[in-house]
C-alpha cells in the first residue's frame, strides 16, 4: 500500500474526525506535509426524557477548536478543546444551568491516500477534563477522561464520496464509572466536488456498555468557501436514544493554516 502525501494524511484523518464526537467533520482538504490546520466545531442539541406525567427538557451548546500539524506525510499531531453549556429543565421542579470545559483532547494519527479513490486514516485520541483533577466547577459535567482509537476509510468518485468509520474507546466518569464505547458510522456526499454545496447523509450507531445501543441519522451539506470545507447538518435519533438526544444541529469548519511547500 503506497501512501501519498498529496491528498493524504490530513484528508484521511479528516475522515477520522467523523468517528469522533461531532460526527460530522468528514472534511476533505488537500494539504501537503509539513502543514497545519485549524478547525472549529459547534453543536447544539435538544434532549428530552419522558417521565410519565412530566418531562425533562435539556439543551446543550458546544463550541470547540482543533489545531493540528503534519510534520511528516504520515504523522499528524493535534489537540482540541472548547466549552460547553447545558440547561436542564424539569417542569415546575426547576432547572439547572451549567457551563464548563470538556476534556482537553490530544491525538496522534497516521494514514493517507491508498490510491486515486481510497483514503485511510487512523487516529489515537485521549483527553482529560478538570473533573479528573477534582475541579468539577470547571468541567462541563461530561466524562472525566477518555481514550479512543478511530479508523476511517473514504472513497471518492466524481459525483459521490463515501466514508466509513469505526471507533473503539473507553470513557471514565469518576469512581467506578467506566464505559466501553464502540461507534460505527457511514456517510455520503453527493454531487460534483466543484459544486459549492453538496448534500450529505449519514448514520451512526453506537454501543456503550452502560447504555446499550444508540444511534443518529445525519442530514446536511458540505460547502466549500475559499477551499475550506464547511459541513453543517441536523442529526436525529430515530428511536428514544438512551442518551436522550432528540435532535442535534452541528457545524464544522476546517481551514488550513499552512498548506505546506508547493
Amino acid at each position: 500500500m503506497r501512501l501519498k502525501a498529496v491528498v493524504g494524511l490530513a484528508a484521511a484523518l479528516g475522515l477520522a474526525l467523523v468517528a469522533s464526537r461531532a460526527d460530522a467533520q468528514s472534511l476533505l482538504y488537500r494539504p501537503a506535509a509539513p502543514s497545519a490546520g485549524v478547525s472549529g466545531f459547534a453543536d447544539v442539541r435538544y434532549q428530552r426524557v419522558d417521565l410519565g406525567e412530566s418531562e425533562l427538557h435539556a439543551g446543550q451548546l458546544g463550541l470547540e477548536v482543533e489545531g493540528r500539524a503534519l510534520p511528516h506525510p504520515q504523522l499528524e499531531l493535534g489537540a482540541r478543546w472548547g466549552v460547553r453549556a447545558s440547561l436542564v429543565v424539569l417542569d415546575e421542579l426547576g432547572d439547572r444551568a451549567r457551563m464548563g470545559l470538556p476534556p482537553l483532547t490530544v491525538f496522534v494519527g497516521t494514514g493517507g491516500r491508498v490510491d486515486e479513490v481510497l483514503s485511510l486514516g487512523l487516529r489515537l485520541m485521549t483527553g482529560a477534563s478538570f473533573a479528573l483533577l477534582g475541579v468539577d466547577d470547571l468541567s462541563s459535567n461530561g466524562e472525566h477522561a477518555f481514550a479512543a482509537l478511530e479508523g476511517a476509510l473514504a472513497a471518492r468518485w466524481p459525483v459521490v464520496s463515501l466514508e466509513a468509520r469505526v471507533a473503539l474507546g473507553v470513557a471514565y466518569a469518576g469512581s467506578t464509572a467506566v464505559s466501553g464505547i464502540l461507534r460505527a458510522g457511514a456517510g455520503a456526499d453527493f454531487g460534483e466536488t466543484t459544486w459549492p454545496l453538496r448534500p450529505y447523509v449519514g448514520a451512526t450507531l453506537a454501543f456503550a456498555t452502560d447504555m446499550d445501543l444508540g444511534g443518529e441519522l445525519l442530514l446536511g451539506a458540505t460547502a466549500r468557501v475559499d477551499d475550506a470545507p464547511i459541513r453543517f447538518g441536523v442529526g436525529f435519533s430515530p428511536w428514544l436514544d438512551p442518551s436522550a438526544n432528540v435532535v442535534r444541529v452541528w457545524l464544522a469548519i476546517n481551514a488550513p493554516i499552512d498548506d505546506g511547500p508547493p
Partner: protein, 370 residues
C-alpha cells in the same frame, strides 16, 4: 464555571406530607391502615453503629431529619458482624450477641418514638460492617470462600436462617414489642446480592436463597412485608428480578440507581456533554423495566436506593432535578422512593452521595414535596 439555576417556579412546600406506615402488600400495592399508598423513605445506614458507640443524639437527629423530609421509612442495616462495635449483632465466630441485639432494640424503639418505620436490611453482599464475607469467615474459618458461597453453602444458609429466626422471635427489651409483628419493622433479605461464581451460582441461586430466607422469617412468625434488597438487574451479576418476583415469600421488589457508578452515560468520546439527561433517562428506563416485572407478578416495587454525585457548585440544583425526576417516575409506576442517603449533620461525605438538607435546600424541598 457552574451557574446556579433559577428558583423553582412553584410555591415552596414547607410542610412534609403525612405518610402512614406500611402494613402490607396486596395485589402489588403498598397498604397502610388507610388503604393503598406510596411509601416515602430515605436511607441511613449508621444507626446501629451510632447506637453501639452511645451516639444517641445522632440517631435522634437522623430520625428527625427523616420526619422533616416527610420520609418516615428509613432503610438501615441490621446485620453488623465482627469488628469491635459494641452493637455488633454477631461476633467474628458467628455467635449472636445479646448486647448487639439490645442495641438494635434501642434503634427500633427510638424509631417508633419518632414515628419512623425501619426497613431492616438483614444481610449485606458487601463487606461493610462485616456483611456476607464476615459470615462466611464465621461458618467456614480459614476456607476463604468466595462471597457467592453465602447464597449457596449450606453452612452459611443455616447460619443466616438461624440469625433471622433470632431476630423475628425477639421481644424488644426497650418497648416490649415482638419483632414479629412490630409495625415499626419491615424486613429486607439482603443488600445488593450478586451471584456470578459458577461454582456456587446458577440462574436460580438467588431466588432459592430469597425463598429460604423469606420462609425462615415467616416460619418464625414475622407478619410484616418482606423486601428483596437487590439492585434490580434483569440478568446481570447473577440477579434476575423476574426470578425473584416468582418467590412467594418476597412481597417487595427493589431497585438501586447509581448511573454515575456504572458508566459514563455517553455514546460519545470526548465531547464532555452533560451527563444529567442521559442519567435521568437511564434511571427512568431502569424503573420502568422493574415496574413491569412487579406488575406482572403482583409485587410492590421500591426504588430503595438512588443517588447522584456532584462536587460542583450546581450540586443542589443538579440533585434536585435528578432525584426529583426519578421520584416522579417512581410515583408514576406506584413505586416507593428512598434516596441515598441522610446522616448526622457533621458526618463526612464518604461516598459522595450524602444529602445535607440544610445546605441543599432545593434537594430537600424536592424530597419533601415530591
Amino acid at each position: 464555571m457552574g451557574l446556579a439555576g433559577a428558583c423553582a417556579s412553584r410555591e415552596p412546600c414547607v410542610a412534609p406530607p403525612d405518610v402512614p406506615a406500611l402494613t402490607g402488600v396486596e395485589g402489588g400495592a403498598f397498604l397502610s391502615a388507610e388503604g393503598p399508598f406510596l411509601p416515602r423513605g430515605v436511607n441511613s445506614y449508621p444507626l446501629l453503629d451510632h447506637t453501639g458507640w452511645g451516639r444517641f443524639d445522632e440517631v435522634d437527629e437522623i430520625f428527625t431529619q427523616a420526619v422533616e423530609l416527610g420520609r418516615p421509612l428509613v432503610r438501615t442495616g441490621a446485620y453488623m458482624t465482627a469488628g469491635t462495635n459494641p452493637a455488633r449483632l454477631r461476633d467474628a465466630d458467628g455467635a449472636i450477641r445479646e448486647e448487639g441485639l439490645e442495641a438494635l432494640d434501642d434503634v427500633v424503639a427510638r424509631a417508633a418514638e419518632h414515628g419512623v418505620q425501619l426497613l431492616l436490611v438483614t444481610a449485606n453482599h458487601w463487606p461493610n460492617y462485616g456483611g456476607a464475607p464476615a459470615v462466611l469467615e464465621a461458618v467456614a474459618p480459614g476456607e476463604e470462600l468466595p462471597v457467592e458461597a453465602f447464597y449457596a453453602d449450606p453452612r452459611a444458609i443455616d447460619h443466616q436462617r438461624a440469625f433471622l429466626e433470632t431476630l423475628a422471635t425477639r421481644v424488644n427489651t426497650v418497648n416490649g414489642r415482638a419483632y414479629a409483628d412490630d409495625p415499626t419493622i419491615v424486613w429486607e433479605l439482603a443488600n445488593e446480592a450478586r451471584c456470578t461464581n459458577g461454582a456456587y451460582c446458577d440462574d436460580d441461586t438467588l431466588a432459592r436463597w430469597a425463598q429460604t430466607m423469606g420462609r425462615a422469617l415467616r416460619d418464625a412468625g414475622a407478619t410484616q412485608p418482606i423486601a428483596w434488597g437487590g439492585q434490580g438487574f434483569l440478568g446481570a451479576w447473577g440477579e434476575d428480578l423476574e426470578r425473584i418476583a416468582q418467590v412467594d415469600e418476597v412481597d417487595i421488589l427493589t431497585v438501586h440507581l447509581y448511573p454515575d457508578h456504572y458508566g459514563a452515560q455517553t455514546f460519545e468520546l470526548g465531547s464532555g456533554a452533560d451527563r444529567v439527561p442521559a442519567a435521568i433517562r437511564y434511571g427512568a428506563s431502569f424503573i420502568h423495566d422493574a415496574a413491569r416485572v412487579a406488575r406482572e407478578s403482583d409485587k410492590a416495587l421500591l426504588v430503595e436506593e438512588a443517588g447522584w454525585r456532584s462536587e460542583a457548585a450546581t450540586r443542589d440544583d443538579e440533585r434536585a432535578i435528578v432525584l426529583g425526576a426519578w421520584a416522579r417516575v417512581a410515583a408514576d409506576v406506584s413505586a416507593g422512593f428512598l434516596p441515598w442517603m441522610i446522616a448526622e449533620r457533621d458526618r463526612p461525605d464518604y461516598d459522595g452521595y450524602l444529602i445535607r438538607p440544610e445546605s441543599e435546600p432545593r434537594t430537600a424541598e424536592v424530597l419533601r414535596c415530591d
